[in-house]
C-alpha cells in the first residue's frame, strides 16, 4: 500500500471487480427490477460531522434494488478500511453511505459518471460491524438504493497508544485528529471525536524519523515529514508525491507552486567552536535547490542566551535549533521559530533579510536594533515550537517555557498569541492558555477553521502523557475537546474534517464533480443558468490586454474550475478559487496569484425569516457566479473592522489577493471585455442580473433593477447606508461609521429588498456594505461554508 505508486491500489480495485463479477455470475444479476422507485436526487458530498443523531443503518424503507449490486470487502492492508464496489449496467454516479450502531451516517463523494465504481472507505472504528448502502443516480437523475451490505473491521496495530477523551463539547470543531508517536513508532494515527481510532497508516517501508510529523494540507491531502523524505498522501494512504530531501530538521512547508521549503541544519566553525545553525532551502519537485537561507549569514553567531543554545551535541553547540517554518504567501515571508534563541524571525523570502524578530531583545548586538517589538502586555515565549500566523494576522506559538522567567517546569507550558504592530514595532500578548502539563520538548498549536485552537502538549516533561486540547480563542478559554494519549510523546497534532477525510474515497482530491456534458448543470439546476462557465477561457477578462490568462503566465493550477449542481434543497458550487481575470501585482508580497479550493453548499428556495442575523466578522458570506468568495465589508485595520474598500488595496475587480475574495462589487464583470470577444462578462445597466448567491440562499443582484413588474424602465439601486466618519478609514470601525437611513433607498438594513417580481434579493451596491450587511434568510448552512459564523 505504501509503495511509491498507485499500482497496489489498482490491484485492490481489480480484486474487487473480480469479486463483484463473481457475485453477478453466481447471483444471476442483470435482470431489471420491476419495482424501481424514483427518489430524490442525492446531494454531492455531505458528511455528517458525527454530532448528529442520524444512524440510518437499517434497511427499513422498501426501496427495491436496481439491477446493480454493492460488494464490500476488507482492505487487504488496512484493517480500518474497506473496498466498496458497484457495477451499474448503465452510466451512473454512486455514493456509498455507511454507519455503525454507535457512529453517525457518513457518505463518500459521488463517483464520476460510469459503470464501474470503486470506493475506498476510510474513517471506521476497529472491530466494528458497519452497514453499507450505495446510492445510485443514473443519467436521467433517477436515484436507486442498493441493499445493505455489512462488513466488520479488524484490529488496530498492536502498538496503538491508549487514548481517552476527557472533554467533548458541542462547540468543538469536530473531525479527526492525527498524530504520530515519536521514538521508534511506525504508525500515524487518526482518532474521531469520541477518541476512537478511525485511521492509521502503518508500514515497514515508511522511513519514519525520530519525530515523525503528519501535517494536513487542508484539502484532504496529508504531508508526512519523514527521514530525509516528504510524502504527500491522500487519506487512503496512497502516495501522491514524494520528495527526497538532502537533510531535514523538524519542519517543511509545501508552497502553492509545488516547491518545498525545508528546514535543515548546517555547522560552521566559529571561534574554534563547532556551531550548529539553521538553513532553509527551497526545493522544486525535481529536488533542485532554488533558494536558500543560512542563519550564519543573518543571525548573531555570538548570542547564546541560555542552556539550550549552549547545549553541545556531537561536539556541536546547538546555537539556534529552529523547529518550525510558516510561509505567508500574503507577504512572501517566512516565520522561523528558533528554540535556542527563543525568537521567531520574519524572513523576506525574496531577499533573505530578517524583517523583524519576535522575542526578548536581551544580549543582542547593535545590528539587530530596531528589529524587535516592545512588548506592552504579557511575557515573551521561551524555547518555543510551532509559530504560525492566525487568520487575523496574530502570531500563535506553543511556548514550552523551558527558559522563561515563568519557568515551564513550575508554571506549565502554554499556547500564547501576540498581536503585533510592525509600524510601531509594538506587540501585545492578547491570549494564552496554560497547558495541563510542562512539555520540555516537542509541542504544537494550530488555529482551526472555526477559530478554535488545537494545542498539543505532547512532549515529555511533568508527565509522559500527551494532552491534545481544543480550546476557544477568547479569554478565558473554554476547553471544547481534550484527548490524552497515555505514555506517549507526540510532536504535532493535526485536525481534518470528515469531509476532507472522505475526499479521497473516490476520484482525485480537489477535483470537482465532472459531469459528462458540462460541469454547470443547467438542465437540472435552475440557479446554474446564472453562473458563468469559467472553465471556458472565452470567459476570461484580459485586463492588461496582453492576450494571456493567469494560467498562461503562472501554470495550469491557475485555470479556473467551476462546477454547479443541485438537489431539491441545496445548490452545490465547487471551485478552485482561481480568478477568471488577470492578477495584478500590488506589491503585497507573493509574486504570483494563488487558489483556494471551495465546496459551497447553499440552501435553495430560501424564505425570508423573521430575524436579521449578523454576518461573520471575517470570511465568506457569499459566492459569485464565477465561484469566487465574497467577504463582508470590513477587514484589516481597526481590529479588522476597517472598510477595505476605502482603506484597502482592492484591484480593478473589487477584491484582493491571498485567496482572492471580493469586498466591493465585482466591477470587472461589467466593465471589461472577455477573451471570447464579449463586451463584458455580465451585462451592465441591465436588470435581473444575478452576480452571486449569499450563503443563506438569496441571490445578490447587480445594482440595476426594473422599476416595476412590467420593467418599463431600469433604475440604479443604491445603498441605504450613509457614511458618517471623518475619512480616517484606517482607524474607523466601518460598522460604527455607516448609518442606516431608510429613506435613502428601498434597500433594507441587510442591503436587500423585495424585487418587482415578488422575490427577495440582496444588491451589490456601489457604496457600503457593497453586498450585504446581514442575513435575512435561513442560516443553517452558513457555518458549513464559513466556520466563523456564530449567530
Amino acid at each position: 500500500m505504501f509503495k511509491k505508486s498507485n499500482n497496489k491500489m489498482i490491484n485492490d480495485y481489480r480484486t474487487s471487480f473480480i469479486f463483484v463479477m463473481l457475485l453477478f455470475l453466481i447471483g444471476g444479476c442483470g435482470g431489471s427490477s420491476s419495482s424501481e422507485k424514483m427518489v430524490d436526487i442525492v446531494p454531492d458530498p455531505i458528511v455528517d460531522d458525527g454530532t448528529g443523531s442520524g444512524n440510518d443503518s437499517g434497511n427499513d424503507n422498501d426501496t427495491p434494488v436496481s439491477d446493480s449490486s454493492l460488494s464490500v470487502v476488507g482492505h487487504s492492508e488496512n484493517n480500518l478500511m474497506a473496498i466498496a464496489s458497484v457495477i451499474t449496467q448503465e452510466n451512473a454516479q454512486v455514493i456509498i453511505e455507511f454507519s455503525s450502531e454507535n457512529t453517525a451516517l457518513k457518505q463518500t463523494l459521488k463517483s464520476d459518471l460510469g459503470k464501474e465504481h470503486v470506493f475506498t472507505i476510510v474513517g471506521m472504528r476497529e472491530n466494528t460491524p458497519y452497514n453499507f448502502k450505495a446510492i445510485i443516480t443514473d443519467s436521467n437523475n433517477q436515484v436507486y438504493e442498493t441493499d445493505i451490505e455489512t462488513h466488520t473491521t479488524g484490529d488496530l496495530p498492536a502498538d496503538a497508544p491508549i487514548v481517552e477523551v476527557l472533554t467533548h463539547e458541542q462547540n468543538s470543531l469536530g473531525g479527526i485528529t492525527f498524530f504520530a508517536a515519536t521514538e521508534g513508532a511506525s504508525t500515524f494515527y487518526g482518532v474521531d471525536e469520541a477518541g476512537e481510532y478511525v485511521w492509521y497508516l502503518h508500514g515497514d517501508n515508511i522511513p519514519m524519523s525520530a519525530s515523525p510529523v503528519v501535517k494536513s494540507l487542508g484539502d484532504g491531502r496529508l504531508m508526512l515529514l519523514l527521514t530525509r523524505a516528504v510524502w504527500i498522501i491522500d487519506t487512503k494512504g496512497e502516495i501522491l508525491q514524494t520528495y527526497d530531501l538532502p537533510t531535514y530538521h523538524h519542519d517543511v512547508n509545501l508552497l502553492s507552486n509545488g516547491n518545498l521549503l525545508v528546514l535543515t541544519t548546517e555547522v560552521a566553525t566559529i571561534n574554534n567552536e563547532q556551531i550548529k545553525g539553521d538553513k532553509i532551502i527551497e526545493l522544486d519537485q525535481q529536488g533542485n535547490t532554488l533558494w536558500q537561507w543560512s542563519s550564519f549569514e543573518h543571525m548573531d553567531t555570538e548570542r547564546f542566551p541560555g542552556v539550550l543554545a549552549n547545549r553541545i551535541n556531537n561536539g556541536q553547540k546547538d546555537w539556534t535549533h529552529s523547529n518550525a517554518l510558516f510561509y505567508d504567501p500574503h507577504d512572501d515571508t517566512i516565520l522561523l521559530s528558533s528554540r535556542s534563541q527563543s525568537w521567531v524571525l520574519n524572513i523576506d523570502h525574496q531577499t533573505g533579510n530578517v524583517l523583524w524578530i519576535l522575542g526578548d531583545d536581551k544580549e543582542i548586538s547593535n545590528s539587530y536594533s530596531g528589529s524587535f517589538f516592545t512588548l506592552n502586555n504579557g511575557s515573551w515565549m521561551a524555547s518555543q515550537h510551532a509559530a504560525m500566523f492566525t487568520n487575523l494576522g496574530d502570531i500563535l506559538i506553543f511556548d514550552n517555557r523551558n527558559e522563561s522567567e515563568l519557568a515551564g517546569n513550575i508554571n506549565n507550558s502554554r499556547a500564547v498569541r501576540y498581536n503585533i504592530n510592525t509600524n510601531e514595532m509594538t506587540a501585545v500578548q492578547n491570549w494564552e492558555y496554560i497547558a495541563p502539563k510542562y512539555t520540555q520538548a516537542l509541542g504544537d498549536v494550530d488555529e482551526l477553521s472555526n477559530g478554535n485552537i488545537l494545542i498539543n502538549a505532547g512532549g515529555p516533561g511533568s508527565s509522559n502523557t500527551a494532552h491534545i486540547i481544543e480550546v476557544t480563542p477568547e479569554l478565558p478559554s473554554q476547553v471544547t475537546w481534550e484527548l490524552i494519549v497515555l505514555n506517549t510523546a507526540i510532536y504535532r497534532a493535526e485536525r481534518i474534517s470528515w469531509q476532507n477525510l472522505m475526499s479521497s474515497s473516490v476520484g482525485l482530491v480537489q477535483t470537482p464533480p465532472n459531469n459528462v456534458n458540462s460541469p454547470i448543470d443547467i438542465a437540472n439546476c435552475s440557479e446554474a443558468v446564472n453562473f458563468v462557465d469559467t472553465n471556458n477561457s472565452d470567459n476570461y477578462i484580459d485586463y492588461n490586454l496582453d492576450g494571456n490568462t493567469n494560467a498562461d503566465l503562472f501554470g495550469d493550477a491557475l485555470k479556473p474550475t467551476l462546477s454547479v449542481t443541485c438537489d431539491d434543497e441545496v445548490l452545490y458550487v465547487t471551485s478552485n478559487g482561481a480568478t477568471n481575470f488577470d492578477w495584478i501585482n500590488l506589491g503585497q508580497g507573493s509574486a504570483i496569484p494563488s487558489t483556494i479550493y471551495k465546496s459551497w453548499t447553499i440552501p435553495r428556495n430560501p424564505n425570508l425569516t423573521s430575524q436579521q442575523v449578523a454576518i461573520p466578522l471575517l470570511g465568506p458570506i457569499a459566492v459569485t457566479v464565477t465561484g469566487l468568495q465574497i467577504f463582508g465589508p470590513n477587514e484589516n485595520s481597526a481590529d479588522n473592522y476597517a472598510n477595505p474598500v476605502t482603506d484597502g488595496l482592492l484591484n480593478y475587480c473589487g477584491g484582493h489577493t491571498r485567496e482572492y475574495h471580493f469586498h466591493e462589487r465585482a466591477k470587472c464583470f461589467f466593465e471589461w471585455e472577455t477573451l471570447g470577444g464579449a463586451e463584458s462578462l455580465l451585462p451592465a445597466q441591465t436588470s435581473g442580473v444575478v452576480m452571486a448567491y449569499a450563503l443563506d440562499g438569496f441571490p445578490i443582484m447587480s445594482p440595476w433593477e426594473c422599476s416595476d413588474e412590467s420593467c418599463s424602465s431600469t433604475v440604479k439601486v443604491n445603498s441605504s447606508y450613509r457614511y458618517i466618519g471623518t475619512g480616517d478609514y484606517s482607524n474607523e470601525n466601518a460598522w460604527n461609521y455607516h448609518e442606516y437611513q431608510a429613506d435613502l433607498s428601498p434597500l433594507d438594513e441587510c442591503n436587500g429588498m423585495i424585487r418587482p417580481d415578488g422575490s427577495y434579493a440582496y444588491y451589490a451596491t456601489d457604496e457600503w456594505p457593497y453586498y450585504m450587511a446581514c442575513f435575512k434568510g435561513p442560516t443553517h448552512l452558513v457555518s458549513d461554508n464559513n466556520p466563523r459564523f456564530n449567530p
Partner: protein
C-alpha cells in the same frame, strides 16, 4: 542661569549627543547598507493634451494617487538583517501615512508614498531617507491606490487612484467631463537597472514619472474607465530613476 537649568540643559545636550553617537555607531556598523534620500518628481502637465486620435483636450483636473514604490533586488542578493532608518531613527522626517491599507511597510526597500498628486502642478516630494541594502536592483513595483483626502477635493476625486477631467479644446466652453478614471488600486513590476553602491555619505535617488507621456494613449471618445486602464498600464514605462552619488 541657575544650577537646575544648567543641569537640565546639560542633560538635554548629553542626550542629543548620545543619540547622535548611537546613530553614528549604528550607521558605522551598517556596511551592507547605504543611506539614500529618496525624492519623487512629477513634472506638471501642460493643460493642453493631445489625445491619441489627435483631439486637443484642455485639462481641468488631473490627479494621481501613489501608494508605494518597492525596489526588488536582483535574485543573487542575500543580505543580513536590516534596520530601516525610515521606520526607526528618521521616521519623523517622513510624511505621516494616513492609511495603511492593511499593508505594513516592513521591507527595507519599500518606499511608502500615500499621497495624491495634482498633476497640473509640479510634484517634488521628499519621501525620506532609507537605508537601502547595497547591491543591484532589477525591478521596481509602483502601486497606486486610493488615499484619503487632505486637499478638500470632491469625493469623486478622492475615491479615485487616477482622475483626469477636461474639455475638448475647440469647444472650451461648458462643463468639463471625466476623460480617464480608475477607482481601484493598480500595481506593476517593471525592469530597472539600479545599483546601490557602498557609500559613507547619503546618496540621492530621484524617482520621476512622466505622466504626460502616459496620457498620450488617451482617446477622447473612449469611456473614462478604459482610458484609465490604458494610462495605468503605460505609466510604469514612464518611471525613471536617477541615482546621484
Amino acid at each position: 542661569m541657575n544650577i537646575k537649568i544648567l543641569k537640565n540643559t546639560w542633560l538635554k545636550l548629553s542626550f542629543v549627543w548620545l543619540l547622535l553617537i548611537k546613530s553614528s555607531l549604528v550607521l558605522a556598523h551598517s556596511d551592507d547598507f547605504t543611506r539614500v534620500e529618496v525624492k519623487l518628481q512629477i513634472p506638471a502637465l501642460d493643460n493642453k493634451l493631445t489625445a491619441q486620435n489627435g483631439d486637443l483636450i484642455n485639462l481641468t483636473q488631473a490627479y494621481l494617487s501613489s501608494f508605494s514604490f518597492e525596489l526588488i533586488a536582483c535574485p543573487q542578493i542575500n543580505l543580513k538583517p536590516v534596520n530601516n532608518d525610515k521606520v526607526n531613527l528618521l521616521s519623523w522626517l517622513i510624511p505621516a501615512a494616513h492609511a495603511n491599507h492593511g499593508v505594513s511597510f516592513t521591507k527595507p526597500t519599500q518606499i511608502p508614498v500615500q499621497q495624491r498628486h495634482n498633476l497640473l502642478v509640479k510634484t517634488d516630494i521628499y519621501l525620506g531617507i532609507y537605508k537601502l541594502p547595497k547591491g543591484k536592483y532589477c525591478q521596481m513595483n509602483y502601486t497606486l491606490g486610493k488615499v484619503p483626502d487632505n486637499q478638500g477635493l470632491s469625493s469623486e476625486i478622492t475615491k479615485s487612484s487616477l482622475f483626469i477631467a477636461g474639455k475638448q479644446f475647440e469647444l472650451n466652453i461648458g462643463t468639463s467631463h471625466i476623460i480617464a478614471k480608475s477607482d481601484y488600486a493598480f500595481g506593476k513590476n517593471f525592469p530597472i537597472n539600479l545599483e546601490i553602491p557602498a557609500s559613507h555619505k547619503p546618496l540621492s535617488l530621484v524617482i520621476s514619472i512622466n505622466v504626460s507621456e502616459a496620457l498620450k494613449i488617451i482617446t477622447h471618445s473612449v469611456p473614462s474607465h478604459k482610458n484609465g486602464r490604458l494610462v495605468l498600464l503605460s505609466l510604469s514605462e514612464q518611471v525613471t530613476l536617477e541615482l546621484m552619488l
